[in-house]
Structure formats: structure tokens, C-alpha cells
């Protein structure tokens, strides 16, 4: 098991390397040199003129003006060795600090929607499979299809409108006021967060939940008639214990490996829902940084999001190996 985890960890390194190159190329794609543009902006807006020395310093730090491979090496080297994500010209702050401020809430919201998705999808999927073609099955299947068909940004908009018109509360943001958002963490702040966070979590999780219900139902239906279930039934196990110990356990397999792909899906959904709901997470910041050619911030966020999803893939693989002895024995 340990060697398996180590192997998976080692295997992450080349993947992360490829992703970092992809991200670097992506942020280099827009026409125009971001640093020249930044120098120009600073001059126009604030009348601040960079001295030769400043520009030399920037060259040393970002490799500005160097060929692309050198720039890439400096960029990734700074991130890996020093945790230095570069400078956000748009926010006028260290990119690393901006990202560090955003990430905890981003992770919290993504995890929250993840948990929501599982808690809802698992029992409903099981119920739909065990009571196939029952009224409950039809109802949930139908709701699931509707959940899949509503774009989550639209769902977010509709909820925002409903909140304002019917409930007279605003679902935007994660906190009641800007003061609370700035305040240091306290019990009151967490409570305030929870009061607001459930809406985006539900919105982000809806599509994933619908998909997961269908996966669970299909998998369990496949397993319910396997010979090993018959063997267990012939032992005289009660239907409930039988279901939980045998077909459900087997059906969990694709379900768990599905979560490797669920997290990227949720993070992607989070990005767009956050923009609509104006959440203080990475989504809106990423969009703005990309629109403003704020390459180091944008690149850093893209890199971290990809890293997060790689970690989730790793976790799901480990969970799979722990669940399924066949994987542990490398069959």
C-alpha cells in the first residue's frame, strides 16, 4: 500500500510538469508583452516611471526579455523553490499573497459542494437502483436530468433573483458585510460564512449530484445481478446487509474513481458561479487577471487549481486501492 502511494506520488511529478508548461504557454498566448504593458500602464495611470534599475530587477526576477524557456524556468523555479508566484500588477500585490488569501475559501467552497454532492447522490442513487422503475426512481431520475440541464451560472442567477425578490436577502458574497470579510476568523465569522455558503455549494453541486446519481444507479444495477450477490443471498443474509456488504461495496468503485473527475468539475463550476455570485474566491480573480494580462496571478491560480485536482485524483486512487484489494495487488 505504501509503495503504491509512493509510486502515485512520483507519478504526479511529470504530470504536474506538463501541466505547468501548458499553463505557462496559455498565459503567454495573449499578444503583447505583459511587462511592457504593465510599465506603460503604470506610467499612464500614476505617472510612475520605472528606472533602468527597476527594469533590470524585474528582468532578474521574471526573466522579462529572455527567451521563453528561460522565462519558464525562472517562473516555475521561483514557485517551486521559494513559493514566489511573482507580482500581480493589477492588484499591486505579491501574487502569492493574493492567491493565499483566496485559496482557503475556494477550497472550502469546493469541498463543501463535494460533500453536498456525495451526501445527496449516494442514497438517492442506491434507492433508484434498488427500487428500479419505482415512482421514486422516476422522480429522482427526472430531477437528475433537470439538474444536469440547468447551466449552473443560470441556476445561480435564478437563485439570486429569487433571494432578492421573494426572500429579500442577498445571496451574493460569502459574508454579510465587507467588515466581516476583513475581520479575523472567529466563531461568529464562521457562522456567518456557513449561513451564506450553502447557496453557492448547492448551486455548484447540483450538476455533479445529478451526474453522480446516474453513475451510482447504473453501477449498482450492474452489480445487483452478479453471481457473488446470489452466493451471498443463498447464505441467508438479510437484503439490507447483503446490499451494503456486497453490491454497494463493488459499485463504490467507479463511484470513487469518479470523484477524481468530480473535483475538477466542481472547481470549474465554482469559478463561474463565483463570478455570478461575486464570491471572494479564485473564480472572479482569475477572470480579471486573465482579462488584464495579469499573467503571474492568472498563471498561479491556474497552476494551483490544477494542482488541487491532481491531489484529488491521488486521494481517489488511494481510496480506491484501500477499497479494492484487486488494485492493491496490482491486478
Amino acid at each position: 500500500m505504501l509503495t503504491y502511494i509512493l509510486r502515485r506520488l512520483l507519478y504526479m511529478i511529470p504530470v504536474m510538469f506538463i501541466i505547468s508548461i501548458l499553463v505557462f504557454l496559455t498565459i503567454q498566448l495573449p499578444p503583447g508583452d505583459p511587462i511592457t504593458k504593465m510599465i506603460e500602464n503604470q506610467r499612464l495611470q500614476q505617472g510612475r516611471v520605472f528606472s533602468e534599475k527597476d527594469i533590470e530587477m524585474m528582468q532578474a526576477r521574471f526573466g522579462y526579455g529572455d527567451p521563453l524557456p528561460v522565462q519558464y524556468t525562472k517562473w516555475i523555479g521561483n514557485i517551486v523553490l521559494r513559493g514566489d508566484f511573482g507580482y500581480s500588477f493589477y492588484k499591486r500585490e505579491e501574487a502569492g499573497k493574493v492567491i493565499a488569501d483566496l485559496m482557503p475559501l475556494t477550497i472550502a467552497i469546493s469541498l463543501g459542494s463535494f460533500i453536498f454532492t456525495w451526501i445527496v447522490a449516494l442514497p438517492i442513487g442506491v434507492l433508484s437502483a434498488v427500487r428500479q422503475y419505482s415512482i421514486a426512481d422516476y422522480v429522482f431520475t427526472f430531477i437528475g436530468f433537470i439538474g444536469l440541464a440547468i447551466p449552473n451560472f443560470l441556476l445561480a442567477l435564478i437563485l439570486l433573483v429569487l433571494g432578492l425578490t421573494t426572500f429579500h436577502t442577498s445571496f451574493t458574497g460569502l459574508f454579510s458585510s465587507a467588515e466581516i470579510q476583513q475581520a479575523p476568523w472567529s466563531l461568529a465569522k464562521v457562522w456567518d460564512l456557513l449561513k451564506h455558503a450553502w447557496v453557492p455549494m448547492v448551486v455548484i453541486g447540483t450538476g455533479g449530484t445529478a451526474g453522480l446519481i446516474r453513475i451510482m444507479r447504473a453501477n449498482l444495477l450492474d452489480e445487483l445481478h452478479k453471481p457473488y450477490v446470489e452466493t451471498a443471498r443463498a447464505k441467508g443474509l438479510s437484503e439490507m446487509r447483503l446490499l451494503v456488504k456486497y453490491p454497494l461495496r463493488h459499485a463504490m468503485n467507479p463511484f470513487v474513481s469518479g470523484f477524481a473527475y468530480l473535483l475538477p468539475y466542481l472547481v470549474a463550476g465554482e469559478a463561474i458561479v463565483a463570478i455570478v455570485m461575486n464570491l471572494p474566491t479564485e473564480g472572479p480573480t482569475l477572470l480579471n487577471s486573465l482579462l488584464n494580462l495579469d499573467v503571474y496571478l492568472g498563471g498561479g491560480i491556474l497552476l494551483l487549481i490544477s494542482f488541487m485536482t491532481l491531489i484529488s485524483t491521488l486521494l481517489s486512487d488511494i481510496l480506491l486501492a484501500w477499497l479494492d484489494p484487486r488494485i492493491r495487488y496490482g491486478n
Binding site: P227, Y228, T231, A232, G236, Y329
Partner: protein, 348 residues
């Protein structure tokens, strides 16, 4: 009959599919004698597997026991002081209820065809065998484990104390089938149903498993219901044979009578289609035609389209069970007074 363990009367199991109703088991009468081995023989798809699962009241959707009785004459238990009449109609029990679950795995155990997929690959074989013991006895986990190791040893698994913690996919097919037998025997059942237990194994393993089962049957004084399509296996293991064709038992007798003087044309054809050692080289005689489509059963005698001895009446009249001697019955119009049947049916 005092020594009948299970008495199946007019059992009918139908499958209600979208394409139509399949009469998988269409009126089966079968008595299994206590302590004997009954072989149920038939081509694939004749309903033998469905019928034997019904003995445990396991019938899958869209299948359903439509009518009939499965009377199980249980051994009298000294410990349970419940009334002297211990027989029970399994077909009437709630398939998910307590009563049938107490019978399954304890009094009637089953061995399946596919040793590959009949164990769950998620748990060790020890776990899955002990589960049966813990379910039906008051033994502690420790005692169950010791018993399991003993059982594994008894069925010929080497190093049982180590292999008990192995996962099924790490064992060979023969070993898995042995483990499956150990599991079935774990609560000393009165009836052991074996659904083609050797079909998926190679010939040497097959022979070993058959020997093992015969020995264990004597040791445990079990009744054995052996489902197979292999007449060689039947000759080796059975006391009595029932031949099934399209959901009906068309002939039943003791094993010697069946092999020496088969009555039903189907049985005769079946025996002819088997190669024999020490026979002069001659072409095998396969049965003409194919097993009919399950949705469209032939009218009259189900075998008439393939029967070499069929005559006009076979197309319309469903043969009744006719007794040809002690313990020898057949369903064929050749042995019935057809004119009398036609007369009585015309009257009614």
C-alpha cells in the same frame, strides 16, 4: 413418503419480460430422497438452474413463482421445541423473510457454477465463509475462524491457516470451488444444491472435485441435488436422474435404468450424442435442431419438433406423467393411451 426430503409439486416459474412471458419452469413434480444424490440433467436454458434456485426461494425479477409447492420435510430438531410437524412450503415463504433466510445457507446450501465470480473479490475467502457460520450459529469470531480453517483443510486446501486470508482472485479456479464447497458445508446442511459446480473447471480438477463432493456427502449424510448437462458426471455421482426439457421433467428414474433403458426419445437421443470410450469408431448422433426459442414453446409435447418418433398427436396433446415401473416415470405419448386421452379431452 417418509424418506422424502423435498417434494416439489407442480412448480411453475414464469419470467415476465417485455418481449413476452417465458415459462422457464412449467409444472415440475420432483421428489428428492433423503441422503441420495439426484442429478438434474438438461441442455442449457431448459430451466434447471431456475428450478433449483427456487428451492431456496431465490427467483429474480422479472421471474416469479406462479404456482406450486416446495414442501421441505425438515429433520426434527431436538433443540427447538416447536411442533412435531416441521415441514414447510418454501414457495409460500416471503423471499426476504426471516424463515427462508434461516433455511438458506444452514439447512439448504448451494454451490454455484462460476467459482470465478461467485465469490466477491472485495473480501477474503475466510471472511466470506465465516460470514455464513456467524450468521447461523452462536459461535464467536475466533471459533468461526478455527472452524473455517478446519473446513478448508477438509476440502483439500493446502496451508488453510494462511489461505484463509487470501482474496478469491489470488486462488486458482479449483481452489476457489473447494472454498465454495467449504462455505456450503460450514453449517452442515441437510441438502446441498450444486449448480454445475464442475463445468468451469478442467477435467482433472473436475474429477477431484467430484470425488471430494461424494466423500463429503457420505461424511455429512447430506442429500445432494446435482445440476449438470454432463452425462458422464451423472453416471459417476448420481443415484437418481431427472431429465429436464423446456421447463419440464420429461423422465425420471434411478441412474441404472436411465442409462440402460431410457424411455423418452429425448433421453435416448441425449445418450446417443455422448462419445463413449471403447466403442467402435462411429459418428456421434447429435440431436436434430436447436432448443426452441423460449418465447415460442412448441404446442403439445415440447420435444415434438425435434423428436424422431413424433406422430400427429404429439403436436396437440401435452403428455402426462406415466409410470413405467418403480421410480421410473416419463412424459411421452408413446407410453400413453392416446385415444383414451383424446376421448376424455373431447368430453371435457
Amino acid at each position: 413418503m417418509a424418506d422424502t426430503l423435498i417434494d416439489v409439486k407442480d412448480l411453475r416459474i414464469h419470467f415476465f419480460t417485455d418481449e413476452g412471458v417465458v415459462r422457464a419452469v412449467g409444472g415440475v413434480d420432483l421428489a428428492i430422497t433423503r441422503g441420495k444424490t439426484l442429478a438434474l440433467v438438461g441442455e442449457s436454458g431448459c430451466g434447471k438452474s431456475v428450478a433449483c434456485r427456487a428451492l431456496l426461494n431465490i427467483v429474480h425479477r422479472p421471474g416469479k413463482i406462479v404456482s406450486g409447492e416446495i414442501i421441505f420435510h425438515r429433520m426434527f430438531h431436538q433443540s427447538s421445541g416447536s411442533g412435531s410437524d416441521a415441514s414447510v412450503d418454501i414457495a409460500e415463504l416471503n423471499p426476504k423473510g426471516r424463515e427462508i433466510r434461516d433455511i438458506r445457507g444452514k439447512e439448504i446450501a448451494m454451490i454455484f457454477q462460476e467459482p470465478m465470480t461467485s465469490f466477491s473479490s472485495m473480501y477474503t475467502i475466510g471472511n466470506q465463509i465465516m460470514e455464513n457460520i456467524l450468521l447461523h450459529t452462536n459461535l464467536s469470531k475466533q471459533e468461526a475462524r478455527i472452524l473455517t480453517i478446519e473446513l478448508l483443510d477438509k476440502v483439500g486446501i493446502p496451508k488453510p491457516s494462511r489461505l484463509i486470508d487470501e482474496y478469491p482472485f489470488r486462488l486458482s479456479g479449483g481452489m476457489r470451488q473447494r472454498a465454495m464447497i467449504a462455505m456450503a458445508l460450514s453449517c452442515s446442511p441437510t441438502l446441498l444444491i450444486a449448480d454445475e459446480p464442475t463445468t468451469a473447471l478442467d477435467v482433472t480438477t473436475q474429477a477431484n472435485i467430484l470425488d471430494l463432493m461424494q466423500n463429503l456427502q457420505k461424511q455429512y449424510e447430506m442429500t445432494l441435488l446435482f445440476i449438470t448437462h454432463d452425462l458422464g458426471v451423472v453416471a459417476e455421482i448420481a443415484d437418481e436422474v431427472a431429465v429436464m426439457y423446456l421447463g419440464k421433467i420429461i423422465e425420471k428414474s434411478d441412474v441404472f435404468t436411465l442409462f440402460n433403458s431410457p424411455a423418452h426419445p429425448y433421453t435416448q437421443a441425449l445418450l446417443k450424442s455422448v462419445p463413449k470410450i471403447a466403442m467402435t469408431r462411429e459418428a456421434l448422433d447429435p440431436i436434430k435442431g436447436m432448443v426452441p426459442n423460449p418465447y415460442s414453446r412448441p404446442s403439445g409435447c415440447p420435444f415434438h419438433p425435434r423428436c424422431p418418433k413424433a406422430f400427429a398427436a404429439c403436436k396437440t396433446i401435452v403428455p402426462k406423467t406415466t409410470s413405467l415401473g418403480l421410480h421410473h416415470t416419463v412424459q411421452c405419448l408413446l407410453y400413453e393411451d392416446v385415444t383414451e386421452r383424446q376421448a376424455t379431452e373431447a368430453l371435457s
